[in-house]
Symmetry: C2
Subunit: 470 residues, 2 copies
Amino acid sequence: MRPQDMSPEEFQKHGHEIVDWIAGYLSHTRDYPVAPDMQPGDLIDKLPASAPAEGEPMEAILADFEKLIVPALNHWNHPRFHAYFSVSASAAGILGEMLAAAVNVNGMLWKSCPAAVELEEVTLSWLRQWMGLPPEFFGIIHDTASSSTFHALGAARVMADPDLRQRGSNPGFTVYCSEHAHSSIEKGALALGFGQKNVRKVGVDGEFRMRPELLAAMIAADRAAGLRPCCVVSTVGTTSVTSVDPVAEVQAIAEREGLWHHIDAAYGGVAAMLPENRWMLAGAERADSLVVNPHKWLFTPIDISAFYCRRPDTLREAYALVPPYLASQGDPRAVNLMDYRVPLGSRFRALKLWFVMRSFGYERVCAIIRDHMLWARELAAAIEADARFEVVAPAPMSLVCFRYKGTDEENQRLIELVNRSGQAFLAGNRLNGQWMLRFAIGNLGTTREDVFETWSKIQALASAGLCDPG
Amino acid sequence: MRPQDMSPEEFQKHGHEIVDWIAGYLSHTRDYPVAPDMQPGDLIDKLPASAPAEGEPMEAILADFEKLIVPALNHWNHPRFHAYFSVSASAAGILGEMLAAAVNVNGMLWKSCPAAVELEEVTLSWLRQWMGLPPEFFGIIHDTASSSTFHALGAARVMADPDLRQRGSNPGFTVYCSEHAHSSIEKGALALGFGQKNVRKVGVDGEFRMRPELLAAMIAADRAAGLRPCCVVSTVGTTSVTSVDPVAEVQAIAEREGLWHHIDAAYGGVAAMLPENRWMLAGAERADSLVVNPHKWLFTPIDISAFYCRRPDTLREAYALVPPYLASQGDPRAVNLMDYRVPLGSRFRALKLWFVMRSFGYERVCAIIRDHMLWARELAAAIEADARFEVVAPAPMSLVCFRYKGTDEENQRLIELVNRSGQAFLAGNRLNGQWMLRFAIGNLGTTREDVFETWSKIQALASAGLCDPG
């Protein structure tokens, strides 16, 4: 018994209510407008300025959740959430999270919770195999791809300058990624003190893939200028258009030049698990590190980012307070996760991934990803068939980038009208100087009909002269 | 409906089973040995080397959870988990996590989920008020105190060197904390490239509190040596002994010297919420930043660390890709959390904190913390009354540090025997060159009887000549 906590009976009562609410939510997410209709501060203004002095009944909290919080949600688990990347919390993943919250363990050290540490190793080994990567890749879970990439950049700098650990960093290390790489690379470099001016954006080809010859030329120019090229990041599934950088060619340059090669496959790593998509990660087996996010396209609730690294000793050199050459000669199977990262502690994130991978199995995951990719190709074809629109980038995964053949303002207005309708949620971006719409497919609840009804809505808005026809 | 996911009925069935399991677990956690009896790799060896090709029924997964995972857990939510700091996942916090997993939102931008962003602001304002801090403190949630402190150090460096953002860091910035400060400060400095040799450990007084005159002397010596003092971290509740650094005196030095003052109140910030403990944070109102972890002593499931900063513009200068002077002139109430941190995205962590703060209320939180502190004082008195033992540090919070008056090996053996018994879980540490036992009180399920039965167990082991009497 826990005399200072809610009674088990009361927990059961509300727990069952919440399970029923979630079951209803997962069945009828489509009944909610995807994005809320509100102004900044609306929720803040509805909530008390101070916490209560006396505890409140759970009934009141749950009622406010429904009345105040739910209407202020942007429903990322909605089948018509097509902005950013479309993600899913599967039922299995939610069940895993319930148990992780209850046992509340911290996986900082092997002895602080062997189950968390060992299940992390097991599930990341499973996932690594699904991607066809060799066993030399050590796996560790971070919260987000930004954190995974940050740890790669920090380790790359230590590999380039072994004295850095003791003495501190010198300026002049340079980092390379394509113009279409994710902002997390520049962010990581900024936080680590590389300096924003030392982040090089390599130009791309007509399909938005990094041009290796430009990378090689930039590295040469930087060396000639006395700078120290340190790390190159290639992307498998860029955020803007899901383009796939030529991983093997970048790897060859990285090896020749002695650079750390990090692969940002946060989104695309899951697509690469399909046999027909193996080309996407060709060459990755020799890279230094790679990130893939199960919370993106692998039906696992946010947050879980899988970071793989072929140089765990360098991670320890960068992040362990006890450097590798002084580390205890303890059992090598007793991994202390804190030695490989900035955060000391961590939640039991592997549990939900274990639930998801076992519950779906490889074949079913592939079948779903294959559907999403097929619908993206079909959507792209439908868009191309409408003379008022154009597809502006290849769609090798499940993101379709397109535009209304009009002004930037008209394209932005289209997004705004779709989003305001509550029927779907899209985001836009600039590409080659023009505004475009990004239509991301990836939620477990999405059907082919969802995709095409939203496309019909977009067409109807265009037919109505970009006024909502109601 | 979600045709590609588990049916809602199946989710409900297993969800109800899991709720019942958790209710039983919270009622009878005490029936489990606190720490598992296993060797490194034991769990790995019991699990398949590869993930299944075909999906498995949830019944099989849940059966394996009970059969394989639970016996490999170190039960942090157990009333007799007294190692590190004792933490709790309350029933209310677990209920909040269930809903957060289901809605699966990402709070990277205001528009990506207004509810997550605004509830984060509201709950952190509530918590700030409970600690008596002024409204100038901007609050943001990180995963762990390590990450919060990392962000403070990075911002401190940018404040000291505004050119760093563009040009990159130069070596020579120094960081100060007490000899008893948490490893996360050194870790953050290491990761950021300050260099380990530029982290100064300031000596302490007889009660393990940073000595301000030594801090001032170290800063002066570093300046004389051409180094650039940058940040000082004082601790309210050190990990080793919960000592409280003289925050106001450190603040005065920081102001005089132009250093960023960060307060690590990860554990102690919650104690400081009690009226009788206000002295612990006296002076903190003028500090630059502070971290307190609701997942430590505020009954909220891991992970949630509250980071407060009086210089949000400097956070943006350090971490926003769009620097403050170029930021959009949008609605200032539409906070984009990504601009204040390394991770782009984040889970809906505020939800569980909202559930906990409302469910308990301020008075009940204080009453529980007061009990934990009382039991710690009573335990310390009981230990002092046994001539074979000595209390080795004051116990201003709920951690009692003591030792058996014997060799280090005997003290280590005591810990080992207690832990192996499964009746309680303790950790040790070195203090003033001698091994000691740390007895942390803080779990919601812990009773005064738990504390004293474990103390009796320790006495019995001593009486039996440090052999387990069975």
